[in-house]
């Protein structure tokens, strides 16, 4: 791999990561065997920094992790960059929060075991800054991992008197449509009703030969 390409890969990763990347994380972008050594990565970062000179972006190193950020001179304009739609948490963040709510007190390792994938520090940091979760202790196992639980702020935000107000898991597992309260669910319900009416109507037209009237049995194959 040419230096040029290495620099571009590092550049691309820093632009989309959404969080600072350590040299380890940068090295993990590469296939085993094709992984550049730390010297090469540092070289690529230095190259990148030089290439960015004069542009609106700069490379910053915070606590051994690297990130790209726009230069401070651009702040006046970027402050006027209004969000069109409200920001959103990632799926991973919501899953982590839900697991902490139901499984507390719980360690990061336990969350990862349930989710089947790593939980980034960024996610936990976000939830702590939001004051929805907090560290409630440390588990007495080697390494003494932190135990996380939800806060009073979490209950207040979701308008719950206590965690016991959360729907029992059994309800969640059973019928996936259970407990829908979103507008989406309402729309679907409306659509379903409308459709029944439509089917009744189409039953009168002779060229209707598919079985959509039979409905739900198909859903098992349908995700």
């Amino acid at each position: 791999m040419s230096d040029m390409q290495l620099r571009d890969i590092v550049h691309a990763a820093l632009l989309v990561a959404g969080e600072p990347l350590t040299l380890d994380r940068l090295a993990a972008l590469f296939e085993e065997g094709a992984c550049p050594d730390r010297e090469a990565l540092r070289g690529a970062l230095a190259d990148l920094e030089a290439a960015l000179a004069g542009g609106p972006v700069e490379l910053q190193c915070i606590d051994k992790a690297y990130r790209l950020q726009t230069r401070v001179e651009f702040a006046p304009w970027l402050n006027r960059l209004s969000a069109e739609k409200p920001p959103k948490y990632s799926r991973a963040t919501l899953e982590t929060l839900a697991i902490i709510a139901y499984r507390q007190p719980v360690t990061r390792g336990e969350i990862e075991a349930i989710r089947g994938v790593a939980v980034s520090s960024e996610i936990l940091k976000t939830l702590m800054q939001r004051e929805w979760i907090r560290q409630v202790g440390a588990k007495e196992v080697p390494g003494r991992p932190a135990l996380f639980g939800t806060t009073r702020g979490f209950l207040e935000y979701f308008n719950l008197t206590s965690l016991a107000d959360l729907p029992p898991l059994a309800d969640l597992r059973g019928d996936p449509a259970h407990g829908e309260s979103l507008a989406v669910a309402d729309q679907i319900k409306q659509a379903e009703q409308a459709e029944q009416a439509e089917q009744a109507e189409q039953a009168l037209s002779p060229d209707r030969e598919d079985g959509s009237a039979a409905g739900p049995p198909a859903s098992s194959t349908d995700e």
């Binding site: 790209l68 950020q69 697991i99 349930i114 898991l169 407990g179 079985g211 049995p217 194959t221």
Partner: protein
Amino acid sequence: MSAVFVRGEPLTEMPADLYIPPDALEVILEAFAGPLDLLLYLIRRDNLDILDIPIAEVTRQYMSYVEVMKAVKLELAAEYLVMAAVLAEIKSRMLLPQPVAEGAEEEDPRAELVRRLLEYEQYRAALERLDARPRMGRDLWVTNIPAEGRDQNRPLPEVSLEQLLDALRSVLVRADAFAHHRILREPLSVRERMTRILDMVRPDGFTDFGDLFDVTEGRRGVVVTFLAVLELVRESLISLVQNEAFAPIHVLSCA
């Protein structure tokens, strides 16, 4: 896979192209998105002319697949059976002598089915093209870097309880795929109580065991607290100390 019956006859042979391990069979059958998909597969596989479908042969093959699906107890969509009836009807209409209609052009009994198959195939191809397009989060990513010096008071994301439960639901679905995970078994109230007890038990001293209980919560509350204490002890998060029989029990944080 020992006793598979097709129209009352034991099925000794799989349909010609089904020389596949039995485990994979279900996967393959599930791969059909519906009766039209299955029919198209049969037609294209044998290079049949879709505009002149040999209806008897296609019906026979279609039925053998449907019987296999039933036999492996695949939850069969009713639409598959409806299609079977449609095929049978077309077959019988083709066997009947053509009624001599005055001047009217007799429509091929297969015409409607062919129209539907062609239309469906068009969308199926469209789906493949769509599927092959570069996608966000898989093939490309949108840049997202912080702006140094930007005001920090950006709006925070809003989350509804439904979104939270939905996230959990998808975790559960995923976790079900790995059955070995023992997840979320304890009743919620116990887990909540565990957090509360950890709060009460200060790391630098003894807490009276009795203080953990709130009698106003009644029997259930006391039981929940007791279960929470046991669970915390089991997980080595707290320990209980009693100097002699009937002496006060003290709770120690292990943290």
